[in-house]
Symmetry: C2
Subunit: 108 residues, 2 copies
């Protein structure tokens, strides 16, 4: 699957962060987290999944464990299983982040 | 781990594609493939790993299965386990691609 300009598939909601599924294999899942200004995905933990973020559009703030930093297009965040992580759109523009899970979320 | 401007960690070689490891958890590995003009990573298969590419710098050509397309910054490629895939720098500029494996390559 070749996805030109993945960020163009972003879906936004005024209520909460938008989520878009891009694709998955047996071992990896790829999607988008889409933030209006001020929205966040509060710090949370996945016990059995590693997560990788790649900022595709805009800028915001990322946290992983004790680390917090401003992030922008081209920045990469890796949160190993068990480590709390979150994202926040602290900017005045929309913020779109590619999210990769390994392994994919369970369908139940 | 928060990596500002991951593409800045690229390492190039005149002999062949440069490879850089960025980090890994138990389930995911992240690195860079770094291409001088004309270099390629010929189509190949991983039987038990999914691979995801995100173009971070420059432009080139990606193939996945029967699909081939020009790719540039912000494009995403997903190659499920068992599907041949490759990259080629068909441009006159350096080309840097984030590579994600799930699960990580075996250390042996």
């Amino acid at each position: 699957m070749i996805l030109k300009q993945a960020a163009a598939q972003a879906v936004f909601s005024t209520e909460k962060m938008g989520k878009v599924s891009l694709g998955a294999g047996e071992h990896l899942y790829a999607g988008l987290n889409c933030f209006e200004p001020g929205q966040q995905h509060a710090a949370h933990v996945h016990a059995d999944q590693d997560k990788l973020y790649v900022v595709l559009r805009g800028s915001g703030e990322a946290s992983v464990g004790e680390e917090t930093a401003a992030v922008t297009v081209g920045d990469v965040v890796l949160a190993p299983a068990g480590v709390p992580h979150g994202l926040r759109n602290s900017s005045a523009e929309r913020f779109v982040v590619l999210v990769v899970f390994g392994p994919p979320p369970k369908k139940d």
